[in-house]
Symmetry: C2
Subunit: 195 residues, 2 copies
């Protein structure tokens, strides 16, 4: 079934709306009826595309949004030749996007990940796979300038600082933490390049 024209199918509209709502208000607080209303899909269509119900939809959304955000961050990092400048501009871009969305669009899966970590093993494993993918991607990027195993430690610290900064920035409605995180990341990179 080839896509004719740029029309967006019902399934994708459902996934997009679910991703947006899970990101902004979390998994438990988002109802399937709200997703149906937001996406313009009939309630029954959700169960047509995701027979396993909410958990099935959540699993798909986590993996799809996770891959998309990895590409977004990889693009933000890859544009520059100097790694320190690239790191700073990536955190700046994240800060700008967060403020422009009225502090709603931070990490697409962090809220859900914390909610399900101790309550839903299937969704927990989906978030684990996404974070591992992000760390792998960042490890390969840092590997251009830093030897093992420091590349992986830097990559893990990058994700941790970004996630922690998103948390503080959303709670305070202030982009400041993201800029501090960027500076700290530059300091860590310098220490590992000279050391």
């Amino acid at each position: 079934m080839p896509e004719t024209g740029q029309q967006v199918g019902t399934r994708q509209r459902v996934e997009d709306s679910a991703a947006l709502l899970f990101r902004r208000q979390g998994y438990a607080a988002t109802g399937l009826k709200q997703i149906a209303a937001e996406s313009g899909a009939a309630f029954g269509s959700i169960y047509h595309f995701f027979p396993g119900g909410k958990a099935d939809l959540g699993d798909h959304v986590v993996r799809r949004a996770g891959a998309a955000y990895r590409d977004l961050v990889a693009t933000a990092l890859g544009g520059d030749a100097d790694p320190e400048t690239a790191v700073l501009s990536m955190f700046d871009a994240a800060a700008r996007a967060l403020a422009e969305s009225d502090y709603a669009d931070a990490c697409p899966i962090a809220t859900l990940a914390l909610e399900v970590a101790s309550t839903d093993e299937r969704l927990r494993m989906a978030t684990e796979a996404v974070f591992a993918d992000w760390v792998d991607t960042a490890t390969a990027w840092f590997g251009q300038w830093v030897p093992r195993p420091a590349d992986r430690d830097l990559a893990t610290s990058l994700i941790m600082l970004l996630e922690g900064a998103f948390l503080l920035a959303r709670a305070a409605r202030d982009p400041g933490p993201l800029h501090i995180a960027g500076q700290s990341m530059v300091t860590l990179l310098r220490a590992h390049r000279s050391g």
Copy 2:
């Protein structure tokens, strides 16, 4: 009404159970009936002590658990004379506590903070106040060895690394991120002391 003996009142049992459940499964997924059952209190007692209902209870729990966790971290940091050793042992203690709770007890307010950041202004402000209090406390601690304004940047990075590490560690059921975060924090501290 003086406390006679070490009996724990109904109000505190409700707060304790709510704090535990909010921490492990989040705010939206935790029902008042579950809190009543867990604490052994009658359902109506919750509304007796918290007339504003769930939001009222959540606000109290966030501030109380936030202050308790600040004291816990401050104690973990303050025990040692050497700041680098103190930072490492604090992250080690956090890793141990997390693993021993089967990756359930990480930050007491992070899940709730992300859930309410864009949906409940009163609770968002409660989490903002708690994080600001933590950063202030850590800033004063770093101020013993590092001049302004680096003390505040280090304090913010400490909280961000701790929160990001908790997220990755819970998702992967692995304490590794907390140890990497501790090492990165030591690197940041060294850079600011020599620089």
